[in-house]
Point group: C2
Chain length 480, copies 2
Amino acid sequence: MSDLGITVKKSEDFSEWYTQVILKSGIADYAPIKGCMIFKELSYAVWEKIQEIFNEKIKRTGHKNVYFPLFIPEGFLKKEAEHFAGFVPEVAWVTMGGDTLLEEKLAIRPTSETIIYATYAKWIRSWRDLPIKLNQWCNVVRWDTKGTKLFLRTREFLWQEGHTAHATKEEAEKEVMDILNEYRDLMENYLAIPVLVGRKSESEKFPGALYTTALEAMMPDGKALQMGTSHNLGQNFSKVFDIKFIGEDEKEHHVWQTSWGFSTRILGALVMVHGDDKGLVLPPKIAPIQAVIIPIPYKNADISTILAKAREIYEKLQKAGILTVLDDRKEYTPGWKFNDWELKGVPIRIEIGPRDVKHGQITLARRDTSEKITVKEEKAVDAVMGLLEDIQRNLFNKAKKFLEEKITAVKSYDEFKEVLKTKGGFIRASWCGSGKCEEKIKDETGATIRLIPFEKEEVSSNCIYCGGEAKEVAYFAKSY
Amino acid sequence: MSDLGITVKKSEDFSEWYTQVILKSGIADYAPIKGCMIFKELSYAVWEKIQEIFNEKIKRTGHKNVYFPLFIPEGFLKKEAEHFAGFVPEVAWVTMGGDTLLEEKLAIRPTSETIIYATYAKWIRSWRDLPIKLNQWCNVVRWDTKGTKLFLRTREFLWQEGHTAHATKEEAEKEVMDILNEYRDLMENYLAIPVLVGRKSESEKFPGALYTTALEAMMPDGKALQMGTSHNLGQNFSKVFDIKFIGEDEKEHHVWQTSWGFSTRILGALVMVHGDDKGLVLPPKIAPIQAVIIPIPYKNADISTILAKAREIYEKLQKAGILTVLDDRKEYTPGWKFNDWELKGVPIRIEIGPRDVKHGQITLARRDTSEKITVKEEKAVDAVMGLLEDIQRNLFNKAKKFLEEKITAVKSYDEFKEVLKTKGGFIRASWCGSGKCEEKIKDETGATIRLIPFEKEEVSSNCIYCGGEAKEVAYFAKSY
């Protein structure tokens, strides 16, 4: 295998495979500065697609996009004690403007609750001003000191963060769940990544939240990856930032708030979950290119007829709304092109050779299964559309099956440790609800509670750690 | 006039008018941190529209969107001496991550040439890798110490920056002009703001560029506002960053580069140029809401019939692709709504009252001229579409006429000073080409050379400052 292709198998050296797929497909690159990355055209185009899909969802439900400053004065960050404690170890600080030392150092936003809520306090006066439902797409910085992992652990990343304020507790609760459901739809029906949903334990919740709900996906190496979180902030922030409104009852109340976000780390999940030994595999619904047409000029064949046919098919597909590229570059062979587009994860390859022209047909090769089918030229649009749907479905189903296989119920701590070591994945275990047991398990095994299901599942044993009475079932896993 | 509306006239106190329009229309707000602003939903929605339009343009011509890091190591910024000198007084520096002092301080990007070109040096090997045509939408920071002016002078702003690398000088030159033309089309045919184009003088060019081309618009107070710049960087950066490629001639060459950008300051121009004493006036092509329907429930009239009709018209317009809002809020009177939507600059207001229902008609009020017309219900879509086009054209023509009136040719320095004091605007004057005269003029009058026309205009006198032989004609103005 040449250096151009992936030189390790996904099943043999997952971490090396992951890095090679990203660098060799050209979806992203390391930046020439520690801890940072470059979103190259392919990853950025997928991110733009995701933005488009999510914008459509939230605008439909009355949310508006805005943009708040990058800088947060230290004083704001300090207002909510738990929030400050949670974020301060990871903050990048601006201390100088030009050659002048700043009077108060400024945090580069690790998240924007504080700067936004300081503003809400000014904007909100009456129940008529509520709800406020804003969202922003921006960069955030968390000064991680561990090694860089493309998409998953970088000091700067891109995300969306939603921030809402409501008149009632019930409305805020509904918003948290509505967004969680939109996230789930995005992850499962567009990224084709099945998720488990539930709430976080006290120790894993967002610093400053009442409670956190989350989506967790399972990676091929048995580690969980958090795909997004939706927090109920209760009145924690509205009390410290003094966000009050005069209600219809003519009395003063603090607002109820939510915040929620997902980041470019979901692109890392996309690579991990669907990629294979040939490179990326992109689900059709978020692929910037859904089909690539490659003319195959055999010797002796009339290349101009083949090219004309290729162009004709290209026009047809484009017109039908299928994102198509015609790769008629002369400096590369068809074989080289096959590998290159496979590396880049394009769902469908369309081959047009002399035989195809002669029989009025085209050959379709699907990226997910490598299967090839031949269809009559006039059926091109329908065939491609059908195949795109099929690939989307197949990628999800495969991932769903894998996720389900990676959930193991255990009844003892020994069993827990054994499964974690040999199989990984989510481990469903009964738990007494104490933070102490949770912490001990984390210290001893590296696994944390990823989720507690919304609908209480029946406990099947005592707490696997302390042997005390179990209060609930939790899903544990190692995670990214 | 109530406090809700604008309390000063545009013609009487332009600066106060500008601030009031922005704050009272709610298009943007000051941030609770010095020198920064908040892009509220209306300005951000216009920015999203502009992004959509410009993305379509540059993607069509083979440019790709990407995202590079926010941080630039000091060492990178220093590589091109002129570039460093130009930007270093305005750089915000990150010096701490968590509680650890950084070994090398990091600039928050004031512009991204250096970090991007350090990467191009790694990516580019052969002529086959060229051209590279990338663009990014991002935030940038310039630590201005002067007072904040919403959209026009803030420490953080949003922009797009394009960065290209080419095999030949000619290709780079063409790119500079192609982009300038796209910018011009965006400003004139979408924002309805006419511009002058040309190149900058040596002292006004981008630090590190061979030459800078720019678009300049004229504000109502006689000051110029730069709407965008497109730079030919020549080989200045490729030499210091060592960006080389093996050409088809099998020899090593340095690439030729361009960079270009426009920022959210163009939103300030939009407010200034089109706004009036009632508030914002948005050109239809970039208005997030193009038409607002206001049902008018007279007493005794059957409100349900009016609402049903309003909804019917709303559906029709939406279906035709017209961005429409039906304002059926009960807590506000029609009069209040009229003022509010005028403040927000919506191009067309549609009134539907009992008389309209009775006669099967609707009443259209245009924001730009306040004219009202009545049209038959079944002509609603055509009428609104026609009116939107008309408003777009009218706004441009009005601004164009103003721009033309604000260009004055002078033959002496006395005349120059007189025109600058009494009329402002662009002053067309003959110039010897020396930086010394340019600097003296700036020191003495505050006016700078905004542009030197691409096509040499005939000089009509000696240099207005030194009286020496004039080499060319330049357009001077005070500017934002």
